[in-house]
């Protein structure tokens, strides 16, 4: 018989305000096997943990039940506590009387009653616990970074600087991400390229970093410390090892009318192209859809011209497979599609642009070489209207419920830059709220208003109507309480940002979770912000939530620190709650093998003692590879003879829990 101790936590008033903790301890004391029960203000504090350790020693406890917050919060903490007192860490169960009781029920009697049931359920379970020891598995000392924007680059650089191999997989032909398209950065107004491109080069030259550009991760298997990824290297029809990036081919290619993605379609590029001058790797790529040779078989001009002999029209997609200890997700974001916002005439007039398009229109390497000109007729705009929160903080299905966070600041930046360069241009900004928390952010915004005379109008725009080469903007000024009409030359929309489309499939591939907006979920919103709940998967940058560049870089480095901490270990303690086969009962039918998603089950011929003259017989029985088994339990249900069970979540234990609830 076990000697069980029950510890009821008040969690300050979080639990104690709705649950009568004394009554819970009192009721627990009456349960079979319980030799000690008490309550305390904060069980997770050092004093609380000491109380547990002392009680284990004093009452010779063999099992411990903690009634407190969710086991997802402090189970690991309390496992360490009981281990320090000499108990096996798996002789512990946590009854969740906070998230699943005190926080959701208001009635004290009802909540207390439920807490008593939850406590006795945990007691019933722990009386059937057995000591478990975790197996160990080795750690592959290499990290995979999915996404080569500033987040991915920063994480990769930090991990590589610590001495570990890193592979960056980027789906575009070059690394650099969104930041390459940005002109200047707030609040310092330094040029994005000047601070980003050196980092791109650092990454390319780092001996520990391998960049797979124009590549995608297509499959991930395995688990923390031992992931296996399959990477598809899309055919770029140019041999990366031979191309020198001279650009000769791009100047001669006859297929010239293709939308230039880098400039967001504001100008054209050739079918063979290098995304931009500082691309890394600086290697050309052929867009098969517009290449005349690929389409008709005739042309082949670039091949003739290329001095390095790098062009290979027959190149095929290639797959490589590698092992990784940790995976960093840095898949970034995109502005939302504005097709649904037709009131702003985005699809009707080329002079209505998104903020990212404006970045290109103001950039020296952009389609207008940095002079701000109207896309429709190339004239200088004299009146520009900015519209904030297009699709952000939106309750209807068209937009996003969240604040995209970066728009207030970049609009202030745009307004300021325009007023500085073209003092004759009027700038109006329609806003709902101006949100500028951040170092030197509010000062920056005030400078835009006070020093540069940007006209901020609190209110929304109802309609933008293209008329006679102009754009009629109709909005409301909520402070003056009047309608405003502005005849503008250009309208700039601060489109909401959303996670990259690949987030969903990557989350599924990694079995990491994403929220309803497709942002990756962190293991804990406050205490573990850069880890995914899936062990070994880490989050860097906007894939986790809207962020500006400094925040992204900070998070990327934090993420790298976590990865380094993982890769520094030689062995990882596994999860001991894995499948276990009762060989006496197993009849070797192979059903479990078929449902196991990890291939952890194999079969062996074993000799068993039997009654009768033969004394022994050889039977085929299942055997579980504990290092591979993840403990899902699919086999336990599939097993027809009841030979399969999961340690820590055994059939007997779950039956006991059900019984305790229904008692």
């Amino acid at each position: 018989m076990q000697r069980i101790g029950v510890f009821v936590c008040w969690c300050g008033t979080n639990i104690a305000a709705t649950v009568d903790v004394k009554a819970v301890a009192e009721a627990a004391r009456k349960e079979p096997g319980v030799v000690f029960a008490t309550d305390y203000q904060y069980m997770c504090s050092e004093a609380g943990q000491k109380l547990i350790r002392d009680a284990i020693a004093e009452h010779k406890l063999t099992g411990v039940v903690i009634c407190s917050c969710s086991p997802r919060m402090h189970e690991a903490t309390f496992r360490k506590t009981v281990e320090a007192a000499g108990l096996n860490p798996y002789m512990l169960e946590v009854a969740n009387i906070r998230e699943q009781c005190s926080w959701i029920h208001k009635d004290r009697t009802e909540a207390t009653e439920k807490a008593v049931v939850l406590a006795r359920t945990a007691i019933a379970k722990v009386s059937l616990n057995v000591p478990l020891t975790a197996g160990e598995s080795p750690v592959t000392k290499r990290a995979l970074v999915i996404g080569g924007g500033i987040a991915g680059i920063q994480s990769a650089l930090d991990i590589a600087d610590a001495g570990y191999e890193v592979d960056i997989v980027e789906k575009q032909p070059t690394i650099g991400g969104k930041m390459t398209q940005i002109d200047k950065t707030f609040p310092t107004l330094d040029c994005a390229a000047c601070i980003l491109t050196p980092k791109m080069v650092d990454a390319a030259q780092h001996e520990k970093i391998t960049i797979y550009s124009y590549s995608e991760v297509t499959e991930v298997t395995g688990f923390v410390g031992a992931f296996k990824a399959r990477i598809k290297r899309k055919a770029r029809f140019v041999d990366e090892t031979k191309c020198t990036g001279c650009g000769e081919c791009t100047s001669k290619c006859p297929s010239k009318k293709n939308k230039n993605e880098f400039n967001l379609g504001l100008d054209n590029r050739t079918a063979i192209y290098i995304p931009f001058a500082q691309a890394v790797p600086k290697v050309a790529v052929i867009d098969a859809e517009s290449c005349i040779k690929k389409k008709t078989g005739k042309c082949g001009l670039c091949q003739k011209i290329c001095g390095a002999g790098a062009i290979d029209y027959e190149q095929k997609d290639e797959y490589i497979e590698r092992e990784y200890g940790a995976i960093v997700v840095a898949t970034g974001y995109n502005p939302i599609d504005l097709a649904k916002y037709d009131e702003y005439a985005y699809s009707q007039s080329p002079d209505v642009v998104t903020s990212l398009e404006l970045e290109r229109l103001m950039n020296a390497a952009g389609p207008t070489k940095g002079t701000l000109l109207r896309p429709s007729d190339g004239t200088h705009p004299h009146t520009i209207v900015f519209i904030q929160c297009v699709g952000s903080r939106c309750d209807d299905a068209r937009g996003k419920p969240y604040c995209s966070k970066i728009c207030c600041m970049y609009t202030a930046k745009h307004a300021m830059l325009i007023r500085e360069k073209y003092p004759d241009t009027e700038v109006h900004v329609f806003y709902i709220d101006v949100r500028t928390p951040g170092k030197n952010f509010d000062e920056f915004y005030r400078r835009a208003v006070e020093q540069y005379g940007v006209d901020y109008i609190k209110g929304m725009v109802g309609k933008v109507v293209p008329h006679d080469g102009k754009l009629l903007v109709q909005g409301s000024d909520l402070i003056a309480n009047e309608q405003v009409r502005i005849e503008a030359d250009m309208v700039v929309l601060a489109a909401a940002i959303e996670p990259d489309k690949s987030a969903r499939s990557i989350a599924t591939m990694l079995t990491a979770s994403i929220d309803t907006n497709d942002f990756f979920t962190e293991a804990h919103p406050k205490l573990r912000p850069v880890e995914s709940p899936t062990a070994g998967v880490f989050l860097s940058g906007v894939c986790q939530g809207p962020k500006d560049i400094p925040e992204t870089v900070a998070q990327a480095s934090a993420c790298a620190a976590k990865v380094i901490g993982l890769l520094a270990k030689d062995k990882l303690k596994g999860n001991p709650c894995v499948a276990h086969v009762n060989e006496e009962m197993c009849n070797g039918c192979s059903t479990c093998e078929k449902v196991c998603p990890y291939g952890a089950i194999t079969y062996q011929d074993k000799e068993f003692r039997v009654p009768g003259p033969k004394r022994t017989e050889i039977r085929r029985v299942a055997s579980v590879n504990e290092a591979v088994c993840q403990g899902c339990g699919a086999c336990t249900v599939a097993c027809m003879s009841g030979a399969m069970d999961i340690k820590g979540f055994a059939n007997k234990q779950i039956f006991a829990e059900v019984d305790a609830i229904c008692r």
């Binding site: 049931v117 339990g633 699919a634 779950i654 059900v658």
Partner: protein, 153 residues
């Protein structure tokens, strides 16, 4: 033996909820963190994956006097163990059909997919489920009186 009638004479059902550790249990925690309430009748049993739930667990709950059993897992395709909830879906369809055949009302059992981000869905599902069980009343069909007796003694 639980008293299933409260002081106002209303039926108080016993409800067992199996939640997979990775999505639904976390979803229930999120309902808690967001202070979204659902009836206290619901008691959650944490299992590694929805596919850990043996149909026998559900039968056992009914035998022991549960009035409703709900099973929550990750959305199809999102199972932490990739395929676990597909097994769950198939197994439970079979079991629920069989229960129906045995005269246990179909609505006493339910499978729901609740992700870690869906605290609100968790609360809504539980509220709806409890309301439905209250309508159905006490489950007498499978209750095994012998087990009850031996427990009481």
């Amino acid at each position: 033996m639980q008293i299933k009638i409260d002081e106002n004479g209303n039926f108080k059902p016993t409800i067992v909820a199996f939640c997979c550790n990775w999505c639904s249990y976390a979803g229930a925690d999120l309902a808690g963190t967001s202070r979204l309430s659902y009836p206290a009748n619901v008691k959650i049993v944490r299992v590694p994956c929805s596919c850990r739930v043996n149909p026998l667990f559900i039968l056992r709950a009914f035998q022991r006097g549960a009035d409703g059993v709900i099973l929550c897992g990750c959305h199809p395709g999102d199972c932490h163990y990739t395929t676990g909830n597909y097994y769950t879906r198939r197994r439970m369809t079979l079991l629920f059909n069989m229960l129906d055949y045995l005269g246990i009302e179909r609505d006493r059992t339910r499978v729901e997919w609740v992700s870690a981000a869906e605290g609100a869905k968790m609360a809504r599902v539980m509220n709806e489920f409890v309301a439905r069980i209250c309508e159905l009343g006490e489950n007498k069909r499978l209750e095994d009186l012998r087990c009850k007796k031996s427990l009481e003694e």
